[in-house]
Point group: C5
Chain length 92, copies 5
């Protein structure tokens, strides 16, 4: 899983029926220095996060398991909101 | 999932039977600045997109689920057309 | 899926029984400028391609589906021969 | 699998029910020179590792198999503690 | 699959029961020039390879299939020993 920051909403009207009713947001991974970096990943947000929130994201086949909806056609989902982390490298 | 731009068609005559009847297009991911970048991914287009259109792409085992065709042998599919996105980093 | 160029044969005598009878070739992805680049991927060639041929490659669990052989232990397979592609970025 | 170093704990209160009761830690891969590098991966720690410990990490669908808990919604898990490794490249 | 060079053994005593009895080695991919490069991958060696040997490695869910042991919790396995390869790019 990855620690990511929510960057904004992503709107799609013409879409696969396995995405109907699901909220899509764009996120970026948080790097060693606590800043966002790298490519934008579009993930399902089942929680209702705000822009700027720090979240835990899963990708791959686990995303479908996490939604617990066998009809969902997704490969990336927010698993939770991160309260805090204390990584060694942050202190170096 | 990733936000990608459709770059053109990809034609294959001699191919796996699990690809018969499926339209193949080349896409590239859209990066932070809104430009395309990175490698070309060949994806199934079940919608009939135009070149230059902004689309949502899924990869991996989810692609087969999204097509809802157990005989399809694909690992990347267009899930929908992106109407808009408002990502924080675009405003920085 | 990716557009790749066949680079040569790969011979293995002592190997997993799920690879018996399968032809292995090394390929590289074709980049934006039409040249090959990046790492060598060893893929199963069920078609009998020539060196230098442009092919469509799938990776991951889809490779086993594409071979339609439940005993095959492979993670990358040639899905077809690419006749042509007309990607925007090629014209830039 | 990858050799990683445990970098610290990651706390999430609002989270997917498939993560309830699982300890989450951040790890980084150990590179050729024995130092950590690259992005932070959040993994389930079923062993109870200390910060700084060298561990073996699996990612992808295998993570669910390794936990042996069909309800777990995880894509990265610590498989064991690394006692030692003697890699050629370390001596170069 | 990838062509890799075996770099050494990796010892773990406290480990997942799905790894019991399996030999773990560290490998690196062989690049275009025939040299090793990139990160260290820990793989199961069901053959008994020597350090320096050139091997074929599979990753992902296929690794479990290749071991033919439903209890194995692995994501990377040696599929065979590479006798030879004749890649175009080597001659460039």
């Amino acid at each position: 899983m990855y620690i990511c920051k929510v960057q904004g909403k992503c709107i799609s009207t013409i879409k696969n029926k396995g995405l109907q009713g699901l909220s899509l947001v764009g996120v970026q991974k948080i790097n060693k220095t606590g800043d966002v970096s790298g490519e934008i990943i579009v993930v399902v947000d089942p929680i209702g996060c705000s822009v700027g929130e720090t979240v835990l994201v899963t990708t791959g086949s686990n995303a479908r398991y996490a939604l617990n909806d066998s009809g969902a056609t997704v490969d990336a989902v927010i698993l939770g909101i991160i309260d805090s982390y204390d990584f060694n490298l942050m202190e170096e």
